[in-house]
Symmetry: C2
Subunit: 326 residues, 2 copies
């Protein structure tokens, strides 16, 4: 660890916002800054750089420094080798950090969720993905192939399957379900045919469908067997994602913490209970937990680890200074 | 039947072309005309009317008449009550026919496939749907809810599931499959990651995915068990569509002809054999057949039936004059 290091940083940049956190090498949080979106596939590379700069400059206020020694930038949309090449070239002359490290946003979420220790995360928001890191710092990601080809257990997929259950009821293929009334209310319609107009005519079709996920989880909470079944089948696929991560990381014989991230899990036991049941069937030592820290802290922890700091020694400092910030 | 009737017509209008067929009331085909697309959701109402006019005027050549007595127009995109209201209003002052009758394109396909007799059709092209008509002329349609919410067994769904199998192989979730090499070749890629760019970046994403269906059916023909399984599972859903149509039409105790329409069935026995197996499991008297006539002829037959002609009496005339046309 270089004693010249004073400040490390972590950035979590996504489709809705950019967050920067700065720490000293003892893990004390020195500042935090927010800015607009920085998924460059969505807002373009110039807006991405601007948002990242803004979040850093805000977090540098009151510190009396103009540069970060080691900055880890976690970004949504860094999916392919081509993405990495492009983003690294675009940041070649970046003047606010001495060292830059780009990571897929699932990695910093993973580091944050387990405070840098080995573990697995499963994200089920609009989309879904599972990822893990083991004691050799080997990283693996499974799933996350988007709304058409993946996103098992995501809000989009739950909403989509809810709509399909309603249309199966209409067709006379499936039994009637309490999902129907909820989706009619949410879409503001009173006719099955209008589903087509509302969904295929939506400007942001993926978000529109994802917004219907609570219609399924709420119906399940009321005991609707079709909704319960949809959730269980999707959690079976999520469980398979988690199991595959663990297998590929040679973690099957260990105690494994699985942190649940994303809006789908906020539905509570109706979702989490299903996932627990699935994981128990694998007869492995999984424990479902809440993430310890958010992804921006995860990025900063990655910076600390990269310069040789042992996170175990400073985790209390992070916790204490995080509380003080609020 | 009015003796003043001289000419009836049938139009099949879709996203790629418009076809008009004229007959006398003995079922002799008098003319045929072609024009561009007439799915008004795609090309707009003005182009739709233009295409329909053009196909009629072409088919009226050499007949010495300027007007059709009874014209049935089967149109893609006539899905909701709102669609019917709109299209009927748009054709209020149509001067090339004394009587107009608008039908969803699946109805004229159904009439054509069984020459106006009771029966079921199953369409599996880019999308999918099943429909049937019984001896009381009751009509039922099941499925057909589009690429996100339905289209079971369609080329889109086969292509989508083929892609998912390839990504499951990449993730280490599923076994390796012969679908992979075929999809790589078809997309012109040599890396799994490029799938995402090629599919989500495609200009016409549904058609792009549907174009991959042969990668699945070809792999199945070579004995790939993952491909075979995908096809069987999708044909289970198609079988359920057919069964639901038959049930809702009170046809479960009858011999039922099911006409197969659309590109997916052109893959042959690898698909049709699966569907037959599924239907046999229902223990019902289904017979899978080729459609007797195309949808444009179906629309003309509907016109004949509407003015009281018994199709049984004139079916030979249709057949003979159809051959003469080519």
């Amino acid at each position: 660890m270089g004693d010249w290091m004073k400040i490390v940083g972590g950035i979590d940049g996504g489709a809705t916002k950019t967050e920067c956190v700065l720490m000293d090498i003892q893990g004390n949080i020195l500042g935090r800054g927010l800015a607009g979106p920085s998924n460059y596939h969505v807002v373009g590379i110039n807006n991405t750089i601007k948002a990242i700069r803004k979040s850093i400059i805000e977090s540098l206020k009151n510190i009396g420094e103009r540069k970060i020694d080691y900055l880890t930038i976690g970004l949504a949309g860094l999916d392919t080798k081509r993405d990495f090449k492009y983003i690294e070239r675009s940041f070649q002359n970046f003047d606010l950090a001495n060292r830059l490290d780009f990571k897929h946003d699932s990695i910093i979420a993973l580091i944050g969720a387990h405070a840098g220790k080995p573990g697995i995360i499963v994200i089920a928001g609009t989309g879904s993905v599972a990822a893990g890191i083991n004691r050799d710092k080997k990283y693996v990601r499974v799933g996350g192939w988007g709304y058409l080809l993946g996103d098992e257990g995501s809000a989009f997929t739950l909403g989509r399957r809810g709509l399909m259950a309603v249309l199966r009821e209409y067709d006379g293929r499936g039994a009637s379900t309490k999902i129907t009334r909820r989706i009619f209310d949410k879409l503001g319609i009173d006719d099955y045919e209008d589903i087509i107009i509302k969904i295929y005519g939506a400007e942001r079709i993926v978000e529109k469908v994802a917004s219907l996920a609570p219609c399924v989880t709420d119906a399940a909470k009321e005991g609707d067997s079709i909704a319960i079944n949809i959730i269980y089948e999707e959690m079976e696929k999520v469980g398979e994602l988690i199991y595959t991560v663990a297998k590929r990381l040679d973690m099957l014989d260990e105690d494994i913490s699985v942190a649940m991230i994303g809006g789908v899990f906020r539905a509570g036991e109706v979702v989490i209970g299903s996932l627990r049941k699935v994981l128990n069937r694998y007869e492995l030592k999984f424990k479902l937990i809440e993430p310890l820290f958010p992804p921006s802290i995860g990025a900063a922890i990655w910076s600390l680890q990269s310069i040789g700091v042992k996170v175990n020694d400073i985790i209390n400092n992070i916790e204490n200074s995080l509380e003080m910030l609020d």
